[in-house]
């Protein structure tokens, strides 16, 4: 069986012999990082990801309960294998304390949007108000022409709300990136 060099010709080289280099599917990954809040830490993380040829789709940063420690949530679209590389490289950064790819772990995620909607007619004001109620968001600023709505929730919820108010005309909009956390409880229905 084993040593038959010379007896097998080139034709005998079958493709299964060759190692498959696993290429994962391309999808959105949610990565959370705990970092030391040092000079340039954000630039370092952005440089690393850009250096791999990926775009950062979403990014949110804020202090944690511990002094000098910040938490980041990153959204990156990419190939599973390369994102795995990115996570390993992020872990290598001196200022990162913890890096987790939450994509395949049960987790809670939220984002916040401020949406300034045209509401010049009474009908529009009624409709938007109704939507605000249904979506359990809040109106945080009112002018004769506009309502500014604050909404928090999953990306889907925020998207759905935006779709519904679009016909009225959106004057201005600001969205934070996502914040995410691993779920400790058994997964439950989101509100």
């Amino acid at each position: 069986m084993a040593d038959t060099i010379g007896s097998a010709g080139l034709n005998a080289v079958k493709t299964p012999l060759f190692r498959e280099v696993r290429k994962g599917e391309v999808r959105k990954h949610i990565i959370t990082l705990t970092v030391r809040n040092e000079l340039g830490v954000l630039a370092r993380i952005a440089t690393l990801i850009a250096g791999k040829g990926y775009n950062i789709e979403g990014l949110s940063v804020g202090e944690t309960h511990e002094k000098g420690i910040s938490r980041m949530t990153l959204e990156v679209i990419g190939d599973d294998v390369v994102i795995d590389q990115v996570v390993k490289q992020l872990r290598k950064l001196i200022d990162t304390i913890k890096v987790k790819d939450l994509t395949d772990t049960p987790h809670v995620e939220r984002e916040l949007a401020l949406i300034k909607v045209h509401t010049a007619t009474p009908r529009a004001r009624d409709e938007v108000l109704r939507l605000v109620e249904i979506f359990r968001c809040r109106i945080v600023d009112v002018s004769p022409e506009t309502y500014t709505v604050e909404i928090t929730g999953t990306e889907d919820k925020v998207n759905a709300f935006i779709e519904l108010v679009k016909p009225f005309g959106i004057k201005e909009m600001a969205r934070t990136g996502k914040v995410a956390m691993k779920r400790e409880s058994i997964p439950q229905e989101e509100e």
């Binding site: 084993a2 040593d3 060099i5 010709g9 080289v13 190692r19 000079l39 590389q85």
Partner: protein, 584 residues
Amino acid sequence: MPRKGADIVIETLKEEGVEIIFGHPGGAIMEVYDALYRDGSIRHILARHEQGAGHMAEGYAKATGKVGVAMSTSGPGATNLVTAIADAYMDSVPVVFITGQVPTHLIGNDAFQEVDIVGITRPITKHNFLVKRIEDLPLILRQAFYIARTGRPGPVLVDIPKDITQKLSDVLIPSLEEVKESLPGYRPHLEGNLQQIKKAAKLIMEAKRPVLYVGGGAVQAEAQKELVELAELMKIPVTTTNMGKGAFPELHPLALHMLGMHGTYYANMAVYNCDLLIAVGARFDDRVTGKVEEFAPQAKIIHIDIDPASISKNIVVDVPIVGDVKIVLRKLLEEIKREGAKLYFPEERQKWLERIEGWKKKHPLTYRKSNTVIKPQYVIEQIYEATKGDAIISTGVGQHQMWSAMFYKYSFPRQFINSGGLGTMGFGLPAGIGAKLGRPDKEVFVIDGDGSFMMTMQELITAVQYKVPVKIAIINNGYLGMVRQWQELFYERRYSEVDLSVQPDFVKLAEACGAVGFRAEKPSEVREIIEEALKIQDRPVVMDFHVDREENVLPMVPAGKSYRDMILDDGKKAIEAETMYLVG
């Protein structure tokens, strides 16, 4: 006691055991130079270009295993260091780069000689720092050394604004414990997972056709003893990468020498046909793997590396083991011995070694000899013989680098010093100077190309100033040889901009600098001038070897191709010479 920031720098360097700094002064770093002068206990080598200083620090670090230090002023001084920093990053060389910066209040103002060197070097350093408060200065410097030398080593840059070097402070130098505590996210993993090690041990005993594939990580970890023991105990042939040279003694009967693009026929055949590949401190570089799908196509792969990010980066492996190579190999050996060190297929293993012997006999590393023109390989063989295989060799980048890898046989780690990852022409001379300063007990030969030499030849004068007796052998083919070779093989001999026949008279250049110069134009002169050069111990020697202009480096696997496409020294393809395929 309050003292200037600059004095704190020197104090910290002394605490770290720094004995030599390579650098070039300027306005922003002047206080540190003054402190260096006043202190007087650390040696400084004035390179003629900061790139040279950087490569010298690398050569010193590569030859000694200690952390190298290079220093420059802000702006152009700092940017001149960039090539060396990138080079150190690619080859995991522990070097601390210290740069002066404009005073804190001018940062961001486009001040004279200001450049954001921390921003520029972010992707090419293991870590970098801008010192903003004098109280942080000693801690940052100690962190820099700690980060540079631990885990997967690498370059760390510390940028120090001028006012920080001038301010007074009585801050204390922190202890190593404090340094470690201050880096909560940095915990290099050294031990290796025992379950994985057990799995690896089993695979090694079960394999019929194993090969060890050893890289620079094994040199860094100084794991030669463990490697030899494992290879001999389990009868495993060993191939090393360019960076791994010397990690396994090349005269050992189990040595397969280098693999990859310019690897030996037998190393590449062994890797292509093996059923178990044990990668040790190697990173599956594309110069090694060629076409990844066809790299060791039948093999299970074990990968031992200190850097978790190196594992399964280019090739998915079966048994990953993250840890210090030396520690993991020791545990692996223990495990194998505990299991009685038995080979499951001793006969197959024996046949495998015989097969490899056959390949070695059939296509040894060789070249066509000549009595009329000097063959570059001949020069390197003569250097090997004249130095009895005991010299440290430093090279530039190109054909001469590959011939130096092939025709000098390396038996100890840190013996072959070259720019493996970045492939930096101009690396050889300054790195050789750094190596000689670090290892004055060894002969250091710089085997350089004429093109590479011309990139940093101003450092010859540095070697003269400090009486560094490096022996510089220029393999002078009047071409950018490696590029010419590619043009010959892959661009139908369109020799676009590779002619270097207009060049200085290197003998006169050497003399002008106060060095000694020799030239050889006939094969009969080669050995003679090497012997002459070896006698000179108080200054550098330049040997200008006029070699066959169109000699090629063979064998060669064309970039991105499979080992089956390897071109042999007779111009044949490996696939024509022998079918590279085993069933089993």
